[in-house]
Symmetry: C2
Subunit: 197 residues, 2 copies
DNA sequence: GTCTATACATCGATAGAC
DNA sequence: GTCTATCGATGTATAGAC
C-alpha cells in the first residue's frame, strides 16, 4: 500500500494511523454497498467518518489507492475464511467444504464479491501487492482440488466455473439465503464422480 | 417505455424519433463499455451524438429511463439470438446448443452481460415492460431444459448455475476467447448423465 | 425537437495555514 | 494530521425561447 508511512511497527503514531485507516476502509464498504462501487465518493466517505474530504489524502494517495486497499482487505478476509478452517481428510469432502465456504463468503457481501471477482470498475487494476493476497487463495483452492483429482487445466476450469456459477446465482437471485449454497454438495459430487468414472 | 410519444406507427415523425432514439441508445452502450455502467453520463452521451445534454430529455425521461431502455434492448438482442436459431430434435443436444448460444452472447459484450444478469447499479429495477422481454428468454430456456428432463426446481437451479458459471468465467477471465465456451458440451453432458442415472 | 441558460449539487485533487 | 479554501470539471434536471 503506497500511502503507508514509514514507521516502526510499534510506533504508537503508526498504530493510530492504521486504526483510522481501518475505520475509513470499513465505512467505504458501507457506502459502496449503498451506492455501488463505481459511485463511491470521497466527500461522502470523509463526512461519514467525521473528516473533511482533503484529509482522506493522508490515508490514501488517490481514489484508485482506496479501491486497491478495499480489494486487498476483501481478499484478506477471504483468505482468513478459507485458511482458518480445517478440512476433512477425505479429499472430496474437503473440496465441498472449501466450496461451501467460498460461496457463503460471496453471498455474505455482494459488493465485496463484485470487487474481488468481477470487473465493475473499468480501469481499476489491483497492485501486485494486493493481488498477491488473491493468489494465496487461488493456490489453496488449487491444492485442495488437486487432492481430489482435479489436476488438468481443463478440469480446473470446470471447477472454477462450478464455484463461480453457484456463487453468482446465490448472490444475484437469493442474497442472504441458501437456495444455491445448499446445492454445493450435489454439484461437486457430480463433478468428482465424472472425474473418477 | 414511458417517454415514447403517442403517434401512429407509420407517422414519419415517429419513425424519425425512433431512429434517433436508437442511435442514442447505441452510443450509450459504447460509453458504458468504456467507463462502466454506473459512470455513464448524459452530458458525454449528448456530446457523442451531436446534441446538447438537455435535448436527451426528448428521448428519455430520466437516466433511469435510459438504463431501462438499455436493459430492454439487451434482452431483445438476447431473445433474437436464441429465438432465431433452430435446435436439434435431440433434447440434450438442444440444451447444449442453447447454452452455447447464451454463453457466446454473454462473452460478446461483458457490459451487456452485467446489465442483464448482474446488479451493477443499486436502485435500478427494470420496468415490467422491459422485464417481460427477459421473461420470454427465461421461459424458452425452461422449455428446452424440460425437454431434456430438467424439470424439478432444484435441477433448474443447478442448470442456471452451470450456465451462469461458464458465462461468468468466460467473461471475466477470457473475454473474446473460448476457454470456457468450449467446455459447455462436457458440463451439460455431465449434468444430463447425472439426471438420467 | 433543439437550443441557451441556468440551477444546484457533487466530483477528485491540490495549496498552504495551523 | 487536520483544516479552510479553492480549482476546474462534471453530474442530473428544469425553464423557456425559437
Amino acid at each position: 500500500m503506497p500511502s503507508e508511512p514509514v514507521a516502526d511497527r510499534t510506533d504508537p503514531r503508526a498504530a493510530r494511523h492504521a486504526r483510522s485507516r481501518s475505520k475509513i476502509l470499513e465505512e467505504a464498504w458501507v457506502l459502496a454497498r449503498r451506492h455501488g462501487l463505481g459511485r463511491l465518493s470521497l466527500g461522502e466517505l470523509a463526512r461519514s467518518v467525521g473528516l473533511r474530504q482533503p484529509s482522506l489524502y493522508t490515508y490514501f494517495d488517490s481514489k484508485a489507492d482506496l479501491y486497491d486497499a478495499m480489494f486487498a482487505q476483501g481478499n484478506e478476509q477471504l483468505w482468513a475464511e478459507v485458511a482458518s478452517r480445517s478440512y476433512s481428510e477425505h479429499p472430496g469432502e474437503a473440496v465441498k467444504e472449501f466450496t461451501r465456504a467460498v460461496v457463503a463468503f460471496c453471498a455474505a457481501d455482494p459488493t465485496r464479491f463484485q470487487l474481488l471477482f468481477q470487473r465493475p470498475i473499468p480501469g481499476f487494476e489491483p497492485s501486485p501487492e494486493s493481488y498477491s493476497v488473491a493468489l494465496r487463495f487461488l493456490e489453496r483452492g488449487r491444492d485442495l482440488a488437486a487432492g481430489a483429482g482435479i489436476t488438468r487445466q481443463r478440469d480446473m476450469d470446470i471447477f472454477t466455473a462450478l464455484v463461480a456459477g453457484i456463487a453468482d446465482q446465490q448472490v444475484a437471485n437469493d442474497p442472504g439465503g441458501d437456495r444455491w449454497l445448499r446445492l454445493v454438495d450435489e454439484v461437486i459430487e457430480m463433478f468428482l464422480d465424472r472425474l473418477n468414472a
